[in-house]
Every structure is written in C-alpha cells, then in structure tokens.
C-alpha cells in the first residue's frame, strides 16, 4: 500500500506562523530595516548600508554603556549567587518556619519593577527616606543623585534585594532534592561541614545554579526600569546602562537608525554570552559524567 500524502496538515500550523510573525519576526525585521536606512523626515528613507553599525562600533558612548553594563552584571552575579546559596543553606528544611521563609523570600519577586525602583528612590532620599536620612544623620555622606559611588551602591543593593531570592529559592529547591542518606553517610564518614558542601550540596545544586546564573545574567544585562526610576541614569552618565542609553537614543533623540543598529548588536551580545555560559556549563557537566 502506498503511503498517503496529505499536505493539508500545513494549514494547522498556520495560526502559529501568523502569531510568531506578528509578535516576533515582523517587529524584529522592522528594526533590521531601520538599521540599514537613513531618513531626513517626511517618511522618506534612504539606503545607508552598514553605516550605522560602524558608527555605533566607533561610538565611545556605546562602549562606555557596555562596559558599565558588564561591570554591573559581574558585581550582582558575584553577590547574588553566593548570598543566595548561603541563604538557602540556612533556611529551615521543613515545618511552619520553612513555609514562612519561602513566602518571605518570594515577596520581593512579586513586586513590579517600577515599584521596586520607587521604593528605593524614596528609601534613599536624604530628606524623607529612612535610609538616606539615617545615613545623613550619622554623618555618612550619601546622595545618590549627586554622588557616583552612592548611585552605584543604591542600584546594586536594590538589585540584590530584588533578585537574591530567586537564586536562593532555586538553590533551596536543589538542596531539598538531596536524600537524607547523603547527610547521614557524610556524618558516618566524618566529613567536615565544608566537605559536605563541596562534595554533596554543590554537585547536587549544579543544575539549578546554572539556570540561576543564566537567568540573573540575562535579566541584569537588560535591566532598565529600576535604575531609570531611581537615578535616571545619573549622576552624569554613571548609571546609564545599555537599555537606558538605547531608550534615550531611540525615543529621546529619535535617532532610529543608530538605535536600531544598537538594538541588533545588543541582542547579539546577549545571545552570544548566554550561549557561551550554557556551552561551558553543559561541557563541565559532561566532563564530570565521563
């Protein structure tokens, strides 16, 4: 018997194709379209080739934003991952207090970004904010609108406050999956607390930690709302991260061409770094399995 051929099934895929086209492909292609054209108003566009790309690559402004962004992501990863693990290790394993801790830990994750920004913006104000006022009264100079260091500290502490919970919850889930027998065997083998962490807990958490690092990296690399609400990118340009700069360029100055070129490179950088992270970590896992 011949195998029946029925091409009508393609119609069933059509809704998905339409949906993806409108939500992803067409908007992205619009950006690509802007990135290779120039306009002088009146909705008239001229072919510009790769001019915007080379202009952006030569722009000191973009390189500065990129390096600020990398420093920011590196700092928050370096704080949030160890802190999250530390918190997870010290959370109760079961009972009422475990549930309470989980709820408390999840709270910051439920607060909308701009609300987080507003909370810290007010919290840090020297005139009415609890933090700013207290620091000011005990004689520590703190003013995130004028001082470079204070602005960075505020933005970083805010991010740590907002997102360490995510790392902690993921690490906690990893820890909960370790059977009791492992800890009992470690006791019988007279393993030190450090050895238990190094040889039991860390290997068992590896998978979830990889996800945590990847998520935190991508999110922090795209951060916009919170620093925008608190510092607006200042003082000067000191907390102007990539997204903030991009919005300034695209919507503030309406430089659509350069902004589009910028967007595409931004997108590629995130893709590239995430890919590198993922490959390195899965290889690490494979090598251990060999």
């Amino acid at each position: 018997m011949e195998k029946t051929v029925n091409q009508k099934a393609w119609f069933l895929v059509l809704p998905v194709l339409v949906l993806v086209a409108f939500s992803a492909v067409i908007p992205l292609m619009t950006v690509v379209n802007y990135s290779v054209q120039d306009t002088f108003g009146n909705n008239e566009f001229y072919w510009a080739g790769l001019e915007w790309f080379s202009e952006m690559l030569d722009s000191e402004r973009m390189w500065n934003a990129l390096s600020r962004q990398l420093v920011f992501s590196a700092i928050i990863l370096a704080i949030e991952v160890p802190l999250g693990i530390f918190v997870a290790l010290n959370m109760p394993k079961k009972g009422f207090w475990a549930s309470l801790c989980l709820v408390l830990m999840a709270l910051p994750l439920l607060v909308p970004w701009n609300v987080v920004g507003t909370i810290w913006q007010i919290f840090g104000r020297v005139d009415i904010g609890l933090l700013g006022y207290t620091l000011d009264k005990i004689g520590i100079p703190y003013n995130y609108t004028q001082d470079f260091f204070a602005a960075w500290a505020t933005v970083i502490i805010m991010d740590v406050w907002h997102w360490t919970s995510l790392v902690a919850l993921l690490a906690y889930a990893g820890l909960q999956s370790i059977p009791d027998a492992y800890y009992q065997a470690a006791k019988i083998d007279q393993a030190s607390r450090l050895a238990v962490f190094r040889f039991i807990e860390l290997p068992k958490m590896q998978g979830v930690l990889m996800i945590a690092i990847l998520l935190r990296f991508m999110d922090s690399f795209m951060i916009y709302t919170e620093p925008f609400v608190v510092t607006g990118g200042g003082p000067g340009n000191s907390t102007t991260f990539l997204s903030i700069d991009l919005v300034k360029m695209a919507l503030g100055q309406f430089d659509l061409g350069p902004a589009a070129a910028f967007s595409i490179m931004y997108f590629l950088v995130i893709l590239l770094i995430s890919w590198v992270f993922y490959t390195v970590m899965t290889n690490l896992e494979k090598r251990e399995g060999a």
């Binding site: 059977p179 027998a181 492992y182 009992q184 065997a185 006791k187 019988i188 083998d189 007279q190 393993a191 030190s192 050895a195 040889f199 039991i200 290997p203 068992k204 251990e288 399995g289 060999a290």
Partner: protein, 358 residues
C-alpha cells in the same frame, strides 16, 4: 570493637507518646556480643531501621540508654561512635573518583597516605572495582554505586560495628550472593560486629550467626536460624520464617492432649492452665498426608515447586500447608493428616508456651 548494650530503649517519632502504639520501637533490653554477625529481620515498618539509626546515632531515642562496651553513648554524635553504615540506596560522592570515594572516610580521619592507598586497593579488589578506580563515580550503574557504598563502609578496620540497612536491594541477584559471601568472609577475617537489616529471610538466615526477628516495634525472638525454625517464640516468627510459613491452628490444650473442634491430638509435652487464645503451630515440613491415620483434612490444591510439593488444605476451617516429597504420589484418598508430635509448638496469645515432660 565493642559489645553493644541496649538498656530500656524505646523510641517514638511523636513528641508526646502516650499509648504504646505511639512507639515505633517498644521498650527493649538487648546485648549485641562483640564480633558476632546479626541479622535484623522483619516486615517493612517494624522498626528495624529505627533501631539501626539509634545505634549509629543518627537518631536519639526517646528513652533508655545505649552502651558501647561500658561507655554510655546515648547522646554521643555519630562521629564519636566510630561505626560504619551502609544504606539501602547508594550514596556516592559524584564529583570524586571511585578511589577518592573509598579513601574519603580514611582521609577525614587523617590516616597516612600509604596506609590509605593500601586499604583502598584491598577494598577495590574485594568489591571487584580495581579497573574503575580512576573513574568518576557519577554515571556508574546503581549496583556499581552500591558496591562503592559497601566499600566505603568496610574501608576502616577499627570500627566498633558495621551496620547494613538493606544494602543489597538494588544489586543484581547473582552479585547479591557474591557480595554476601564476601561480607561473611570479611566478618570471619576481621571479626567486626555486624548488624544487617533485611526483610528477606534467606538473606538473614545465610548471613547471620544470630537472627533477631522484629514485629511491630518489638524484638520477638533472637536466635540461630535453627532455633527460629524449630521453636519460633512467637506466631509471627512462625509464619514469617519458612516457606510456606508455620501452620497455626486454634486448639484447646489440656495436659498432653490438644483438641481441635473436638478431635483429639497427642502432644509430646504436657501443658497446664492454658485458656483463652490458644493455638498449636506445626511446620508444613512436619505434617504428613495419609489414607488411614490422623485427622480429616480437605485438600484444595497441590503445588509442585520442583524440589517438593506443597499441599494446600482445609483443616477444620483453618488453611494449612503440608510439604510432601517430590516422589510421593498424592492420591484423592489421602484425606487425613498427621503431625509429628515432637515438632508441635503450643502458643498462648501468640507467644510460645514451654511444656513439661509428660
């Protein structure tokens, strides 16, 4: 190495135990002699793992004391007790090699590298993993991992006791025999006190010098395999050990006679003053079918298991089993059964009663 004494020990998982049923482990007094191999046998949930964890110090008892030799270790942490324990499911350190896994308990105790190396080599030979010593433990099969766990348990020579918590559950049947034989030879060689928890009677009877049978949180009998077979102290031991288990038949016992539904049966010994819940127990091995002698029985079916036949029958309303030799012919006229009087035990409220010579 040391003698282990359990003094008045009991444990409950609830913080305020009131009734006896709240106790996972009912009060028990017990001495484990130095250098003997014990099997702790019982159905799942009878408290045997609880008892093992109390001995190893992973659990602290609600009452009573544990002595190692003469020193009280009831509240001593596991690390101070110097015991080794192997768990039901394999515990290996994934990121270490097999060699590092085996060396881990010795390294943590600060042994000399040369000594560690020689011990690891000896243990690897014993569990048959010399070729895989430098492999990562992650990715090995479950039974290879369990062999590593066993090896880690045996690597220290000076332990007070070696505890095994159903260690061969995940191992292949042919490997089970091999490992059990090795455990026995290890026991003969070094004379460690070994306690082996299992719910498998074959495993218990082949491994141990003495088998401790537990039932509902209580030690019901401790004895050699032969004692358990011939004189079960509790009806539970009777039907848990042996395949099929002991026949327990409700009866009235007066002197050296037992009455089952009015029919009379002679016993080897005499018993006085038994009333209430009385029964006689006979192993299927000591029951014989006959055409002429004994009491009437109703054969239901005959199972041929190869080396012998098992006859399932109805005996005054009680289901009993009878074992017949493979070459015996069972005819439809065999509707009577006899029991060997020397092997009939009498039970009162499930506990065995000692008779007097009649």
């Amino acid at each position: 190495m040391a003698r282990i004494t359990l003094d008045n020990l009991a444990h409950s998982y609830s913080p305020n135990p009131k009734k006896e049923a709240d106790y996972a482990l009912k009060e028990l007094n017990h001495v484990w002699n130095d250098g003997e191999a014990y099997a702790l046998l019982g159905a799942s949930g009878c408290g045997k793992s609880t008892l093992l964890n109390i001995i190893s110090g992973l659990l602290q008892p609600s009452q009573g004391r544990i002595l190692f030799g003469d020193s009280d270790v009831t509240f001593a942490p596991t690390t101070d007790r110097n015991i080794a324990q192997v768990f039901q499911f394999p515990v290996v350190y994934d990121t270490m090699t097999v060699r590092q896994n085996l060396a881990f308990p010795l390294r943590n105790r600060g042994e000399r590298p040369a000594y560690i190396a020689s011990r690891v080599q000896a243990i690897a030979a014993m569990i048959g993993m010399e070729a895989q010593l430098d492999r990562k433990a992650q990715g090995l099969t479950a039974d290879a991992k369990q062999k590593i766990s066993l090896g880690r348990g045996m690597v220290r020579e000076d332990v007070n006791a070696l505890l095994f918590d159903e260690p061969l559950t995940v191992i292949d049947p042919h490997m089970k025999w091999e490992l059990r034989t090795q455990l026995k030879s290890l026991h003969r060689e070094f004379g460690h006190t070994m306690i082996y928890v299992t719910h498998d009677q074959t495993e218990a009877l082949t491994f141990a010098d003495k088998v401790v049978v537990m039932h509902e949180g209580r030690v019901v009998q401790m004895g050699t395999p032969e004692e358990l077979f011939e004189r079960p102290e509790h009806t539970f031991v009777g039907y848990f050990i042996g395949s099929p288990g002991m026949n327990i038949i409700p009866a009235r016992v007066e002197g050296n006679q037992a009455y089952i539904n009015g029919s009379q049966l002679s016993l080897a010994e005499a018993y006085t003053g038994l009333s209430g819940n009385v029964a006689i127990g006979v192993r299927p091995d000591y029951a014989r079918l006959s055409e002429t002698d004994g009491l009437p029985v109703n054969i239901r079916r005959v199972e041929d298991v190869g080396r012998h036949k098992i006859i399932r029958a109805d005996f005054f309303g009680t289901d009993i089993s009878i074992i017949a030799r493979e070459d015996e012919t069972i005819s439809p006229d065999m509707n009577r059964v006899t029991f060997d009087p020397a092997h009939i035990n009498v039970y009162h409220d499930d506990w065995r009663v000692q008779g007097e010579a009649a």
